[in-house]
Amino acid sequence: MTSDLAPTPSGPGQALRDWLLGRTGALRRRRWVDYAFIGAFLLLLVVTATVSDVFFTQRNLSNLGRQAVTNGLLSLGMLIVVLTGGIDLSVGSVVALAAIMVSGLSKGGMTLLPAILICLVVGVAAGAVNGFFIARFKLQPFIVTLATMGAIRGLVFVYSDIPITPTDPAFRAVLGAGFVGPFPVSALIMLACYPIVWFFINRARAGRAIVAIGGNEEAVRLAGINVSWHILLAYMISGLFSALAGVMLASRLGIAQPSVGSGFELDAIAAVVIGGAALGGGGGGGSVFGTLAGVVALGMIDNLLNLFNVQSYYQQIFKGLIILVAVLWRRKQ
């Protein structure tokens, strides 16, 4: 017992070790469902490797990585919101807003960096609107973000009802199609966000408060913590990641459709849930590591079904089933 009382080492090295081996989460609190999940994941890999000779090519893997960027970013924001006990349905619309704005601004002659920054600020602002109504007026996150999901989509079409092609060639070359060695730049940026968010959730004061709010909002309020501010912050972070995802998506596709991003919220919610988070009241369970696993698993399934030329309708059905199974598995943990 006394060894458990030894002071906890800290520092970046320890933080990394914690993240991987999990003093506070990730791999340590593994239950059989997680083993089942990891097992299923490995099985999928083995089956793929034997059946497809294309999957393990660098070209396909980097494709997979680039395609997972959008969901990878959205899921991070979604995770933080879900940890507060909320949900953000507006992420897909914010993706479209950022994508079309960055393209429009670039086409209008603005240089890239300010254009991207403006889009990120707009994303944070959209999140702030969500958070304001949810925190200030105690409205249901589902309803508020459902409303903003529609409103922001409308805003996108007001901005431009036709697709916009960003003109600056650097935009596509660096972000969307750029590589560092064999790794796509966009995937690296996305992956870099994971340890940052892990650090935020597990080490930052605000992150711990957000996790605690999801568990018992009233206890946190009575502990003298400003609950409204932290809820606002969570939705602003989700808005930020949605906007970042929108910018990356526009640069990968090389064109921004006003209709892009619809349904993206489902994939993000799915990744977070597969990663172990409990939707709705009660909070808890969600981890950065689990979410990343969820993102990778969903991305792989998409990729595989593509390789096997399965129609996208069937992909939807398949993904829906996976989400149901994941939630069933985690019921009554």
Binding site: R203, R208, A209, A212, G215, N216, G224, G283, G284
Partner: protein, 500 residues
């Protein structure tokens, strides 16, 4: 209890976790009788009634109606036997109308299949209300918009409407005005005439003496005795309710210091309490007792900024403060341990580390990042001081026993280094060993100069720890006793509004 009784409950036992709420109660009652059940908070009155009405299952014992075993395994089964209960917590559907609530499950159908004949429904509901003497309530109005006392009347009407054989009233008068109380008594007498057995729980002894044919006293989950109002006076009854020794579980106390830590002047909040004034010195334990609903909890929530007061002034160490939120109160050095640790004390899904430092994150972080080493060291220190087991910082709060959970909430507030510590029912639902540990801790904290406001329903606790004791009744401080003057009889009498 005699064998000829209409209702016989024999050897009833019920435990919640480690707490024995009922320890073999033998209770009997007759048709057409108003039988009052009295006792301190936690004596087991409500539990006994809930066993009878099917709301909770008994662990052991038998229940006979008219000499035959009665199936009260569920509320529905109890309803079929003609047993109806009105609890302190309402069971009304707030957004349905009065008529719908009264006729819930038996709305008159109209000719159109699946539809309701609203005229008939309203007529029937009005008739029911009239027949039991409740007038002045519009059956079309939505229940949630009615005053609490009218809701209580609807609740009673709903139960009385079916002409039950046994009607249980659990503290029905707590929210009623005098006029409504008179109507309720008229209804009770009417039901009694018709042969209904009325089981009436109340803290208000005046009331009990006015309406009851017999009075049964429960204490610590056991039946102390049954008396007739004519043969036992209120003093005797209170002794039966209290009658226990303080025991040797309370630590010795050091005298408080002279400087005032907290001063409250004329604090009031519309609808819950008014004109509450007291002062609390450093190192002093000020007890605050009173029945459930007397306004104690509202007062401490106001002191802590969880609810804003309408008027009054607050001084911490001589400095005027107005905490408008718990955040401001914490910054002023006030801490509140709430009465329900699971509802608003702990984040059950979080670890000991997070829970203990939740109220002191600010002090432990720099640039918004928590200083993990300092956090761990401070939490470990408190875990050790309070002997929280297991002393594993990553253990989740929900994995701890009730006693250790309570210590964890205490640890959270001690870590804020508060000057004024408000404890609302600090030993509720913890085992005896933890109780003793918490008493010792309270004594030690006071000796260190912390001012403690101890709110408790357990009179021995108030008497054993407090330097002074306040009693609240119906939103006011009605009495103050020094340690020497105070006794259970005096506190209880003041709380129940009995003139001595």
């Amino acid at each position: 209890m005699t064998d000829g009784d209409f209702l016989v409950m024999r050897g009833i036992r019920k435990s919640f976790d480690v707490t024995e709420a009922l320890r073999g109660v033998d209770f009997g009652s007759q048709r057409g009788e108003v039988h009052a059940i009295v006792g301190e908070n936690g004596a087991g009155k409500s539990t006994l009634m809930k066993v009878l009405s099917g709301a909770i299952a008994r662990d052991a014992g038998e229940i006979l109606l008219d000499g035959a075993p009665a199936d009260v395994s569920t509320p529905l089964a109890a309803h079929r036997l003609g047993i109806r209960a009105v609890y302190q917590e309402f069971s009304l559907v707030p957004h349905l109308s009065v008529a719908e609530n009264i006729l819930l499950g038996q709305m008159p159908p109209s000719r159109l299949p699946g539809c309701v004949d609203w005229n008939a429904a309203h007529g029937r509901a009005e008739e029911i209300l009239r027949s039991i003497g409740f007038v002045g309530i519009d059956v079309r109005s939505v229940v949630g918009r009615l005053s609490v006392s009218h809701q209580q009347m609807v609740e009673i009407a709903k139960a009385a409407a079916v002409r039950p054989r046994i009607m249980i009233l659990d503290e029905p008068s707590a929210v009623l005005s005098q006029e409504e109380l008179n109507r309720l008594f008229a209804l009770v007498r009417q039901l009694k005439q018709e042969g209904t057995l009325i089981l009436y729980i109340s803290h208000r002894l005046d009331e009990v003496y006015e309406i009851a044919d017999r009075i049964t006293v429960l204490k610590d989950g056991q039946l102390v005795g049954t008396v007739r109002p004519a043969t036992a006076d209120q003093g005797q009854l209170i002794r039966m309710m209290v009658g226990r020794s303080l025991g040797e579980i309370f630590p010795s106390r050091k005298p408080p210091r002279d400087d005032v830590a907290l001063e409250v002047k004329g604090l009031g909040r519309e609808g819950s309490f008014s004109d509450v004034s007291f002062s609390l010195r450093r190192g002093e334990v000020l007890g605050m007792s009173g029945l459930v609903g007397s306004g104690r909890t509202q007062v401490v929530r106001c002191l802590f900024g969880a609810e804003p007061p309408d008027r009054g002034e607050l001084f911490v160490e001589g400095k005027r403060v107005h905490p408008r939120s718990p955040r401001e109160a914490v910054n002023e050095g006030i801490a509140l341990l709430t009465e329900d640790r699971k509802r608003d004390g702990l984040v059950l899904i979080c670890s000991i580390r997070d829970n203990a430092s939740l109220a002191s994150f600010e002090r432990m972080s720099r640039w918004g990042i928590i200083h993990r080493r300092r956090q761990a060291a401070e939490v470990q220190q408190k875990v050790k001081e309070l002997d929280i087991r297991p002393p594993v910082l990553d253990r989740l709060a929900r994995q701890l026993s009730g006693g250790n959970q309570q210590k964890l909430v205490l640890a959270k507030w001690l870590m804020t280094r508060a000057k004024v510590l408000i404890l609302d029912e600090p030993t509720r639902g913890v085992d005896v060993a933890t109780k003793v540990a918490i008493y010792q801790l309270i004594s030690d904290l006071a000796a260190d100069g912390i001012a403690i406001l101890l709110v408790s329903s357990e009179l021995p606790e108030i008497l054993g720890l407090s330097d002074r004791a306040l009693v609240m009744r119906q939103g006011r401080v009605v009495a103050e006793f020094t340690r020497e003057e105070a006794s259970e009889e005096k506190l209880l009498a003041a709380a129940a509004g009995v003139r001595q």
